[in-house]
């Protein structure tokens, strides 16, 4: 999680006063002032794994693409194939540069036959908005950047269905994973998606910014009996890392392509519409990636962090992109790019921590999978 230096005035969440009243430590992330933690990262992390957590995700970008050719337009702009989505379904996607570098990772929801919602990372939302506007230009589709007009609150954790059900006219248990439905939550018109960034069951609820406070209060009150607590970006980071989900800016950036990030399955090279990055990505698919994103578990004493070099013997094989002590597993875990020949689970590597080599091994991702 990196701060964004040099940005004069960060955006303020519509829930900022509530966070401060709850005793949150705030941080600037992706150009927004957001809660880093309330009671503490470890406690918040455990609450999400065992019960439920409430997240303010107002910083995320919401981009609506609408029109008779909205699906085709998006298909030309991103690496996945949105026209293949059924209404009410979502897909993970990426938007790439002509050279195949990842400019952002996204979730694309099909809200109606001719209406899609693209959710972009906070720090990238202005760029993605500009790129989408350019790339859909030739198609009968328009872009409506709803980032500031839309707030997003997520409930994540095993008790999420029970917490949300009494608040909504929808049947949360009936929404499939990576599904989205339109209804009311706490009497507020909302889009309710069964998506998240924690590795747990849960929902992301989109409402108009003006009503975010009402939604937050209603969810916090409804969840109290289930042990729901507010959760900041600190625990969001440890939760997503355990779940093996990459974070843009740490694990993904414009120098990385989807195949290197182990996200090649998302790229539809053979879709009927040409898309930005296709030729470069086809070459990578044919020749194979130059490096691969893997999971590491530290076997020696120490915590690998973003930027630490990874060695096999005397040869530097790559670099750590995310690392922490896993609150669930109790061991230090990391994601790193390594040479393809060193990417096999079981491979013994060393991470250089403050000048000393510390043993680690390549392990399969994710580190944590929720019990079902």
């Amino acid at each position: 999680m990196s701060e964004t230096p040099g940005e004069a005035m960060p955006h303020t969440s519509p829930l900022a006063d509530r966070h401060k009243a709850l005793g949150a430590k705030m941080t600037t992330f992706g150009g927004w002032e957001m809660p880093l933690q309330y009671s503490g990262i470890l406690e918040e992390h455990r609450a999400v794994r065992e019960r439920a957590g409430l997240f303010d995700l107002s910083h995320m970008g919401e981009l609506f693409v609408e029109g008779p050719a909205a699906g085709e337009a998006l298909s030309a702009a991103v690496v996945s194939e949105p026209p293949r989505l059924a209404v009410g379904r979502a897909q993970y996607s990426m938007i790439c540069a002509p050279n195949g570098g990842i400019l952002d990772d996204l979730i694309v929801y099909r809200l109606a036959e001719e209406r899609f919602l693209v959710v972009a990372n906070a720090g990238n939302a202005p760029l993605v908005s500009d790129l989408l506007a350019q790339r859909i230009g030739p198609f009968r589709a328009i872009l409506d950047d709803g980032s500031l007009a839309t707030a997003l609150v997520a409930v994540q954790g095993p008790r999420s269905v029970e917490i949300l059900a009494p608040l909504t006219d929808l049947e949360p248990a009936g929404i499939r994973y990576y599904g989205i439905a339109e209804g009311a939550v706490a009497g507020i018109p909302a889009l309710v998606a069964r998506t998240g960034y924690t590795g747990e069951d849960g929902f992301e609820v989109f409402v108009e910014t003006a009503r975010a406070g009402e939604l937050w209060d209603a969810m916090l009150a409804a969840g109290a009996a289930y042990g729901l607590v507010p959760v900041g970006l600190g625990a969001r980071d440890t939760l997503r890392l355990e779940a093996g989900m990459p974070l843009y800016g740490n694990d993904l950036d414009p120098t990385v392509n989807p195949y290197e990030a182990n996200l090649g399955r998302v790229v539809r090279l053979d879709k009927p519409i040409d898309f930005v990055g296709r030729e470069a990505l086809r070459r990578v698919a044919e020749s194979g990636p130059a490096r691969l994103l893997v999971g590491l578990e530290m076997t020696g004493r120490g915590i690998a962090r973003h930027g630490y070099p990874v060695f096999v013997g005397d040869r530097q094989t790559g670099i750590v992109t995310s690392g922490t002590l896993s609150p669930t597993l109790g061991t230090a875990i990391a994601m790193a790019y390594v040479a393809p020949g060193d990417a096999e689970p079981g491979t013994i590597v060393e991470v250089e921590i403050r000048g000393a080599r510390v043993a680690a091994k390549v392990v399969p991702l994710p580190f944590y999978r929720r019990p079902r």
Binding site: G40, I41, L42, R301, G302, I303, R305, T324, L325, R354
Partner: protein
């Protein structure tokens, strides 16, 4: 109020001096600012430290922070409990969360450290 019997650095270490033996840790304010501490790296016994030199690191879930020795001296003991229970730094920073003991070279160096009132003022303004 911070404990009256200690001296402090502006980097939020504390030191308790008894004769030529000093016990060193980080303050409750530092522990609170760092958040949940999950890893502490300390030097080996016998190592010589100069005042203000880095003697180790403390890691929270999110961040790595250097630790600075308040005084010059030789490390005579480190708190071995912190290897398995780094959270002691959060729960009892001035007690069971101590980090190391030094045989100090020059006890007069402590005169240059912050007294409790000066440290209280520092954290009130932080």
């Amino acid at each position: 109020m911070v404990p009256e019997d200690l001296r402090y650095t502006k980097d939020h270490e504390w030191v308790r001096l008894a004769g030529d033996e000093a016990t060193v840790g980080i303050t409750a304010f530092a522990a609170e600012q760092l958040g949940d501490i999950v890893f502490v790296e300390l030097p080996a016994s016998g190592r010589s430290l100069q005042a203000a030199a880095t003697f180790g690191v403390v890691e929270s879930v999110k961040a790595v922070s250097d630790l600075f020795s308040p005084l010059s001296g030789e490390v005579i003991e480190v708190n071995a409990d912190l290897a398995s229970q780094p959270e002691l730094v959060n729960t009892d920073p001035f007690g069971a969360g101590w980090m190391l003991k030094l045989k100090v070279t020059d006890a007069a160096e402590a005169d240059a450290l912050l007294d409790p009132a000066a440290y209280d003022k520092l954290i009130a303004e932080a």
